[in-house]
Structure formats: C-alpha cells, structure tokens
C-alpha cells in the first residue's frame, strides 16, 4: 500500500488526512489518545502500533471503532461506550511486516480483551505458587517496593526479561543503573542467544545476522525454521514469497535441513532429515565438499577452512543422518548457484549449537556472499540495549528481589522453581497470572501491548528501524505501564529517572538524519514518525568482516542410550511461540500444522516406533527422561525421523487463563539440565527418552486424514 493511501486510513472523525513525507504535515494533528466522545459509531480509525507477541517487532496498524463495555457501576450493569480495538493488521510502511502479519499477531487482540486479564495490582496472600492473590493498591506497591529496594544490596537485584531492544528495555536499564544493579538478563530459552553468539564468534557482529533470502536463488536453511517462527516470521515469509515468485526470471530453490519436517520443510523443495545433533556434521560435510570438490573458499584463511577440511568426510556424512547422495547434491547446488545462501540457526538447541550454527553460517563465507545482495548481512544496530543471557539459576540463587517482565521463566525452565521460591521478593508485571506470576509476591500488571506506548527495534530488519506505538485507547483496567511503575519507585528512592519513550527516541534519531531539512525540528519529526508508526531507513553498507574460525564439538545427549533409546525433541511452534500464545483461544483452535490437532500438542512419533509400541493417534503415552516424565497424546507422524520424538512447546500451563490452564503438558518440564556449551543456555534438544503406553484416546484433529489415498480396489 502506498504512503498516501495509508495516511488516508489514519484519519480522525473529522476526516483530516496527512500528506506525504515531502510536504508539510497538515495543520490538524491527529489526537493521539482517542477521546471516547469523538469516536463516531460505525466509523473506523487506524492507528499504528507494534506487535509484542514475539521479539520480531512487526509494525502494525490497529482498527479502532466504538464498542460498548459492560461495567459494574453502583451495583448496576452499565454499557459504557469506548474506543475498542477490532483488528490488527501489518503496517504497510513498516519494512519488517510490510503490511502483513502472522497468526500470533492477528490473535494479539484476544490478549487485550482476555477475560482472565488482571484488572489491577495484586499481592500474594497464599503460598508461593498457589496463585492466591488479593487486590492491592498502586501506591502501596510502589511504597513497599521502594522501601525494599532502599535496603537491598544492589548486587542482589535481578531483572529477568525477554531479548527485546526497545524504549522499555532502555527505561529498565536506566532504572537498574540508577539503583546500581546489574543489567536485565534473559532466560536463554527462545531468545536466539545461540545465533547471536555464533554471529559474534564468526563475524564479530553484535546481534542477529540478516538473511537476504529475497535476492538469493538457492537457499539452504540448516536448523533454522525461519518460516515456522524463529527470529522474524513475517519478514522472512515475505522474503520467501519474493524469493519464489517475486522475480520474473528467477524462482529460488530452497533446501531445508532440520531434524523434523517443520513449516520451512513444508515449503522447501526438499527436506533433508538431519539426525538430532547432526547439524554441525552436515555443515562441515558440505563445507568440505565446497572446498575440496568445488574449489570454493580459496581466498579465505587456512585457519577458517581447517574445521571443514580436517575431517573424515565419510564418517561425517554418516553422522548427519542424510544420504551421501543428498549431501553431495546440496553442495553441488550451492556451488553452482548464482546467489547461494545458507540460513543458519538453532530452532532446536543442542549442546553444540553455537558450533553448529557457526559451521553452517561459515558456509556463507566460503560461498562469498557475506554483505552481498542475496547473502548474509550485518545486524541492524539499536540505540537501546538488548538484554543478554545470563544463567537464570545462578542469578536467582543470588537474588533477594527479582523482577520478571515480558517472559515466563518458570514455564521455559520449570527447574527454576526452587531457585525462584527461594527469592525473598518476586515481582511480576504480567497482565495475566502465568507460571511465574503464580510465585510472585506482587503482580503489577502492565498495560497490554496494544494499550502501550513504546518504540521497538525489530530483531531483524532490512535497515535501521524504530517501530513505535503511541497509546490510542484508554487502558481497559487499572493497569500501569512498567515505565511508570519504575519512575514512581525511583522517585520515592530520590533517584528520578526519565522514561525513554517512542517520542524521545525519535527525537534522538533526528539529529543523525540526512533529510533533516524536511522538518522544522525534532519535535515535528517525532510527531510524524509517531503517526506513521516508526522511522525506518536503509542499512548502511558494511564491509565483509574478518571471519573467525568455528570451534567444532560433538553434540551430547543426556540419558544413556540403553535406558532411553529415543531422542526427545521439544520445539517452539508457530502457534504458541514461547508458550504465551496458548492463552489465546484463536491460536488454540488453529490446527497444529503437523498433526492438525487443536487444543492440544501431541507427541509426534514415527510409524515404526508407533507400531512397536502399539500406538495410534490419540493414545496417551508417557515420555520418561532422566529428568522426569510427562504424559501426552500421540500423533503418528509419517515424516518423523525414526527414533525421534518431537513435541510442540506451548501447552502444560497451570495458569495463563482459562484456555491455557490445565491443558496438556509442557515438554520443557522433562528436559534434562544440559547446557549449550559456549553460551550456557538450556540445550532443550539434548535429552533422550523412552515411551510407555498410559491409555487409549482420540486426537482432536481438524483433519483426520493424513494422506490422499487411492482407493483400494476389490
């Protein structure tokens, strides 16, 4: 959609429209907060915002119309007209979403109007984990927390959050700084610490590499389910669409190598079923073939090539689980392509994932596409800090107070329960009681993302990007933005902090702009950026870095092969992401791509294992690992690698609303305590398991048919 027609959508009831970037803004500015009285029934307005369901940071536009909210007033039920959010779509001006949006973004409006949202601050009355909460007062909360923080040693203040770089992370950083506490950290699960570490080791880059899939003609994606979730689902899906049919003469070929047939495998021209842990071997084998047989990488240093060349090729190929024919074929196709690209990732994290990703991404160096069109590019920079991983177990053990915001650590790493229980004060900012908030002493619900003002730097973007939201609807309940809570607390501690807002972020950007002259000043520019939903510019070109050599290591699995003959493989699904999607009924009822199951996440086993265990779809089975056991219904997956049990992560909440709680099992609960060796993050794909039958059942599938069968003749 063009800029002009976009601005026509963002209009007031009075119909004022804004002209394009080159002209002066119209005299009438769009009031940012839509007063209820000004909403005309039946007339829609569109406001830009940012989707916060994952950290991709897609810019969205939100449809606002009048609706009637049922309220209790003086014991009576009253219908109060409000400005309500009806629909979320991609912001056509945003280079990440490009006007498109994934299912989780579409469902985000259900989080805003979720019936189980907290309506005000709460404090704990029962035992830790019982989630018995009573209403509290904001002032009381601020005062109590301030007095606690006054006494606590700043070294024992811990802030756990998601790996989002935004005005929020910047404000939190200011707060922690003011207190003398260490920076906010992430839990390390589903936050791409592995890919970041690999990029740092290989290229010296800070952040996630950007893959220019749209300009490549042959892509090998190794371990990166970039169409099924991963770092930026919408951006990469858009790029993929263009890669396939967006260019008149070129149709890109995609080969996907992963230890399960994921969504990227669906869309690929061929799926290479890599054995769990064989990702590094595949990368190295292909690298070897590229160097030895196709003569690539001649201009790269010997040290860099060594990991690929000093190997026993046959043994390495055997360890991949992929046939030699396919490995050679893939290497040949990479070598022959005009614009080959290897997308390297660890959708399923093993103990050697950094090495595996490094080895895979290193193929791009051999192919010579780094920094080139259709190749891998340097990450975008961000003015805001992006929280890094630090072992949460260790942090919690040292903590006297822990703040949890934007992440549910107890869901992602249930083993943290004891450490969390041992912290004197736990504060959660969750807007619905989740697994962690059930342990909290204070739950100070944040505004919903669609009620918030923020500027987010997308995880992956084509260039410099600041995608923002102003508040445009009144918050539904007595919730407060985290920034406000922090500044209140800071005020009481006589350490005033200024929020970092979207507006201030834009103002700061103004100074470095090339096209400064088009605006009268930073304020005007900031208004403009706020109205269009962000400020985006092309990336500065960067030179190819000196690539560092990858240190290889073999993958390890917990549990002996004799006790646990199968490999257990939880994966993050496109429906639930880090598990927070399970709260949203639309996502629960969307059929799981692999099994077509709704409202549940079955364990997927291959037909051979199923036959031996006499398992049919829906039967309840027990997975036992060295860390415990869980039960889940079975799905016999014709595409499952023999001996590999996969299971989507997302169910198994005890809390998080009526649609998520008490439903299914959390596979992360039985993942062994294996760590990725270079970063220390949880290697959730390094557990072995065994199966036993627990009962019969049927699977709740939307489609009960797995194959189109030709009819059998008599």
């Amino acid at each position: 959609m063009e800029r002009r027609s976009f601005f026509k959508m963002v209009g007031t009831a009075s119909g004022a429209a804004l002209t394009g970037a080159c002209g002066k803004p119209a005299a009438e500015l769009l009031p940012i907060l839509v007063p209820e009285e000004q909403i005309v029934p039946g007339v829609e307005e569109w406001h830009p915002s940012v989707c916060r369901e994952c950290t991709a940071g897609c810019g969205v536009i939100v449809r606002v119309m009048e609706a009637h909210h049922k309220l209790e007033r003086d014991g009576e039920s009253v219908l109060h007209p409000i400005a309500a959010i009806k629909k979320v779509e991609g912001n056509p001006l945003d280079p990440v979403s490009g006007g498109r949006l994934c299912g989780r973004g579409q469902a985000s409006v259900q989080r805003l109007y979720h019936p189980d949202r907290l309506r005000g601050p709460k404090k704990r009355t029962g035992d830790r984990g019982a989630a018995e909460l009573s209403d509290a007062d904001w002032d009381e909360a601020h005062e109590t927390l301030a007095s606690l923080l006054r006494q606590i040693d700043p070294a024992r203040i811990v802030w756990l959050t998601r790996a989002e770089s935004s005005s929020r992370s910047a404000t939190v950083a200011r707060f922690l700084d003011a207190l003398g506490a260490s920076a906010a950290t992430t839990v390390g699960v589903n936050d791409f610490s592995v890919e970041r570490a690999a990029a740092k080791a290989l290229y010296g880059w800070d952040g996630l590499p950007v893959y220019e899939i749209q300009d490549a003609d042959f892509v090998l994606s190794l371990g990166a389910d970039f169409l099924g979730g991963w770092t930026s689902p919408v951006l990469y899906a858009r790029r993929f669409g263009h890669f396939r049919q967006g260019r008149p003469q070129t149709r890109g070929t995609l080969i996907h190598a992963e230890s399960r047939l994921s969504q990227t495998g669906w869309a690929a021209d061929r799926w290479l079923p890599v054995a769990p842990g064989g990702e590094q071997d595949l990368a190295v084998a292909i690298g070897n073939l590229l160097i030895e047989e196709h003569g690539l990488g001649k201009d790269v240093g010997e040290a860099f090539r060594a990991p690929y060349t000093n190997i026993d090729l046959a043994a390495t190929i055997a360890a991949t689980g992929v046939s030699a024919l396919r490995v050679r074929e893939t290497a040949a196709q990479l070598a022959a392509a005009n614009a080959p690209l290897v997308v390297a990732g660890a959708s399923i994290v093993r103990t050697n994932s950094v090495a595996a990703v490094g080895a895979a991404s290193g193929l791009n160096v051999l192919l010579g596409n780094v920094g080139k069109p259709g190749g891998v590019k340097a990450p975008t920079t961000s003015p805001f800090p992006r929280p890094k991983f630090s072992d949460p177990q260790a942090r919690l053990e040292e903590a006297e107070i822990v703040f949890v915001e934007g992440v549910d650590p107890l869901y992602l790493q249930p083993a943290l329960k004891d450490a969390l229980a041992g912290v004197e004060t736990v504060v959660s900012f969750a807007s619905m009681v989740d697994e962690t908030a059930a342990f909290a002493d204070w739950v100070l619900p944040d505004h919903d993302a669609l009620e918030s003002a923020a500027a987010v730097v997308p995880e992956v973007a084509p260039g410099a990007a600041l995608t923002g939201a102003a508040s445009f609807v009144r918050p539904l309940y007595d919730t407060r933005p985290v920034e406000e809570t922090l500044s209140e607390i800071a005020k009481r501690l006589e350490k005033g902090i200024d929020h970092v807002t979207a507006h201030s972020a834009y103002e700061d950007t103004f100074a470095a702009l090339d096209e400064k002259d088009e605006w009268d000043g930073p304020l005007e520019f900031a208004d403009y950026a706020e109205r269009q939903g962000g400020w985006w510019s092309d990336a500065a070109s960067s030179s190819a870095p000196e690539a560092g050599a990858t240190v290889l290591e073999a993958a390890r699995f917990e549990g002996s092969e004799s006790d646990y003959p199968l490999t257990f493989q939880p994966y993050f699904s496109s429906r639930f992401g880090d598990g927070s999607g399970a709260a949203l009924p639309w996502l629960q009822e969307t059929p799981d791509p692999t099994s077509s199951a709704m409202w549940e996440a079955p364990m997927e086993i291959d037909p051979g294992t199923a036959a031996a265990a006499q398992a049919s779809n829906g039967d309840l089975f027990r997975i036992e690992t060295s860390a415990g056991s869980i039960q889940a219904p079975v799905y016999v997956n014709p595409a499952a690698i023999p001996g590999v049990v996969s299971m989507a992560i997302g169910q198994g909440h005890q809390h998080l609303g009526r649609d998520a709680s008490g439903r299914g099992t959390n596979p992360l609960a039985v993942v062994a305590e294996a760590a990725e060796s270079q970063t220390g993050v949880l290697a959730f794909g390094a557990t072995r398991c065994r199966l036993s039958k627990a009962g019969d059942g049927t699977l709740r599938q939307f489609s009960i048919v797995d194959r189109e069968t030709e009819p059998v003749r008599l």
Binding site: L112, L227, P233, P593, S596, P638
Partner: protein, 239 residues
C-alpha cells in the same frame, strides 16, 4: 439523478471477484486462518466440540506424500470457492444462498432455516453450521467486527470473500465517482498473508493482478471436473 450519482454502482454488475492462491509462495503458516476468525466474528468452538465443529472458514488441507526420507507435505488453503455453478444454491429450499451477480455466493443468515442440504452438496465441504448459540466471554465481545453479523444457532455460514470489505470498497469508490481499482479491496486472508500468496481482485479488470495470475499456466482450480466453475485459482507449485 440516480444515474449520475450512482455511476460506479450501476457498473457494479460487471465486477467479477476472484481469489488466487500461489501455492509456491504459501508456507502453510495459517496466518490467514486466524485473520479470518478475527475479521468475521467466528465464535471460538469449545474444545469438547472442536474436532467436528470448529468453523475454519479457511482451512489448510494437508497431506503427506511419499515415504520417509523422501517425504513431502502437500498443502493447500481451502475456502468457499464462490462457484459460478454452485451446487449449494439450487438445493436450498428457502433461497438462503444465491449468486449475487458479482461472482459471490452469498449466504443470507436471517433466511436460513438450517436444512443443511447446501453443506451436504458442497464438494469442498467449506460450509459450517452453528450447532449452538455463539458465546464470547466478556470482554472478548469488544473485538467483534461491527460490519459482520453474528450468526445465531441453526444458521449456515461460510467464507464470503469478506463481503463487508467489498461493500466498503465499493462505497468508498462510489463516493469518489469511480470504479474499485485493483488493490483497493483486500480480503482479511490476502491482507494478512506474510508470503503474499493470496491475491484478491476483479477478473473483469483485465489489468488486475488476479486477471494476469488466473491466465498463467500454473493456474488450476479445485475439483473443476465437477463443473462448479470456482472463483478461486490455485497457482500450482513450480518444480
């Protein structure tokens, strides 16, 4: 007078709405499925009813093909094909479903008495029935789209090509005294699709994207041997 102001509308009989789905771009991500639910006030089906009743007006049919390790997934988004020769239309005893002249197979909710013959006669099984009264736990009803009816129990429903958006698009165009232009109207699914695999448009406009796509060699139609003349074109995956 009426002719002058309604020039755009009197030409409306010439619109021929159609949808193209590029299976080479589609990734089966189901963003379209969720977008459709959000746009069309489709009630959430409780899980006890889910398997047989969930109203995925737009669904992704998926079939495994081949054997491991050379196994593939064949998948295809399927929604009401808005057939020109719809088998569902003649069998409704109360005229609750008919062709509206622009290629849309229209379902009139308040006329439907629920004989369900239309659903049986649809070879694509794209019609869905309201077995119970829909419910929205508060305050989820705030999200309801005011441009779309909420259907009561006993009534049939299905994909409408987002007729509410088509109506709005035609109104907006007529206010400017012109025809709807290519790209003015997007269905919820086509707007959301990250891979840009769904293209909605007017076949009577020979310059429109949909007209060009429908003419491509890759374009096929589902069950066209039945003679339903669907308005949905599938661009088969290239090899």
């Amino acid at each position: 007078m009426a002719e002058e102001t309604n020039t755009a509308l009197t030409e409306s009989a010439q619109y021929r709405w159609a949808l193209a789905i590029d299976l080479d771009r589609c990734t089966g991500c189901e963003a379209c499925v969720v977008a459709c639910h959000a746009e069309n006030n489709i009630p959430v089906t409780p899980e006890s009813e889910a398997a047989a009743s969930t109203k995925h007006w737009l669904r992704i049919d998926r079939y495994y093909e081949g054997e491991f390790p050379d196994i593939k997934m064949k998948y295809r988004p399927v929604m009401c094909q808005q057939c020109d020769q719809a088998p569902c239309e003649p069998v409704c005893p109360v005229y609750a479903t008919y062709q509206n002249g622009e290629g849309l197979n229209v379902q009139v909710y308040n006329r439907c008495v629920g004989t369900r013959y239309c659903a049986n006669n649809c070879p694509y099984t794209v019609r869905f029935f309201n077995w119970f009264e829909p419910e929205w736990p508060e305050p989820l009803e705030l999200q309801l789209n005011p441009d779309v009816s909420v259907r009561p129990a006993g009534v049939m429903e299905k994909c409408t090509f987002c007729i509410q958006r088509i109506q709005r698009g035609k109104l907006d165009a007529s206010e400017e005294d012109r025809r709807v232009e290519d790209g003015d109207i997007e269905t919820a699914c086509s707007q959301s699709c990250p891979a840009e695999a769904m293209i909605f448009g007017d076949l009577s406009d020979s310059e429109s994207k949909i007209s060009k796509l429908a003419a491509q060699g890759r374009a096929t139609q589902l069950l066209d041997e039945l003679g339903t003349q669907p308005r949905v074109f599938y661009l088969e995956r290239a090899k």
